[in-house]
């Protein structure tokens, strides 16, 4: 048991080192834009963080305009997915994936993928911070927020393993929020969860039929 744990820890350490190395390399590629980022985004950084929480606040409390809250949630999830997609090579250690597969159990790979996914998902962490701050009474008023966090996790997992299903999920979710129907926030979010689950069942479309 101890040996098993030690082997898992060595794999985890390797993956964490690969993760930080890849992120550093990605950041160094952005270095040439650093001055531009510092000038444009530097003063706005605090504002962006506040915007992140403001967006979450709107998603939590948009009972007066559920369709608006649902639209905001889909856009929020889309932005989150784009950020995670950019980080996928670091999260999965895509460059050495075959090496990992040749030596390590698939359950270990998935487990470490999920840990690094959580570590990378600042958006989900922000939601969890808000969730921890809610009282039971508040939770009863905003049960859809639990589904929103579930969707945030789904987005991350789909980005890693089912990108096509994520594409379908967003496509159908956008159709749902644009439909002229009157739904409560909870109904919208239950719909999104159903769409995300069902989209994994849609078979991939082959664009090229050349044989």
């Amino acid at each position: 048991m101890i040996d098993y744990f030690a082997r898992y820890i060595s794999f985890l350490s390797f993956r964490y080192l690969a993760y930080t190395t890849t992120l550093k390399s990605m950041l160094s590629q952005l270095k040439s834009f650093s001055l531009l980022f510092a000038l444009v985004l530097g003063p706005a950084f605090l504002g962006l963080v506040l915007l992140l929480f403001l967006g979450l606040g709107k998603i939590v409390d948009s009972h007066a305009a559920p369709a608006y809250g649902a639209k905001l949630a889909v856009v929020y999830l889309l932005l989150e997915s784009v950020m995670l997609w950019a980080m996928t090579p670091a999260i999965k250690n895509a460059q050495n994936r075959a090496f990992q597969r040749s030596l390590f159990k698939s359950s270990w790979r998935v487990c470490v993928d999920c840990k690094l996914l959580f570590l990378s998902n600042a958006w989900l962490i922000a939601s969890l911070l808000i969730a921890m701050d809610l009282s039971l009474k508040q939770w009863l008023q905003v049960p859809h927020f639990l589904l929103f966090m579930l969707l945030q996790w789904f987005c991350g997992v789909f980005v890693l393993y089912r990108p096509l299903a994520l594409f379908y999920s967003f496509l159908i979710s956008f159709v749902l929020v644009l439909l002229p129907v009157s739904l409560t926030l909870l109904q919208y979010f239950l719909g999104f969860v159903a769409i995300f689950c069902c989209s994994t069942l849609i078979p991939p479309v082959r664009i090229s039929h050349k044989s």
Partner: protein, 196 residues
Amino acid sequence: MIEIKDLNKRFASAQVFKNYNKQFNGKKTCLQAANGKGKTTLLMIIAGLESSQSGYVLFNSETIESVQNYVSIASDRIALPDFLTARQIIELSCKALKKEMPEQLITGFRFDEHLNTRFRALSSGNQKKCQLIIAFLKQAPFLLLDEPSAALDQESIRFLLTLLDDYLNDKPNGQIIITSHEPEVFLQHGFECSSL
């Protein structure tokens, strides 16, 4: 015995294998084909490291669930973590496979002095040695080596051949498949040539 059944593999618009069937009967086979015909891809599919559109691989007439436990592979297609030193990569592999540090393999390939060099800084010959050490460390019944002698010095090739000579001694149901554009030296050591 490894058998490939109805394999279809496509990269974007390039069809590499179309309803491909192949049976490797010999204990030691040297697979031959021109560049780009899919030798490495086939080895990767056999090792379960690359997926195919359809088809399956049989090992001694059976499909295997966790192929990586039964197949050992060395190929340039498997990128080793180049931010680690060779020692760290070998130690990581030892831990994964529950093996001791393979001192005999390291000495045999004269790799000692390169252990503390980062993988990315190793010459292509030494990178190949590192791949081979990990492949032999595993001691899986099925051994797949992609161009094992490429970039190796003569002494290391001789050591590789002694390893290949003895590899199947304790693996009665095992098999070795290699690819090589210079098969002569392997043919002298009991390998049979087979076209893709």
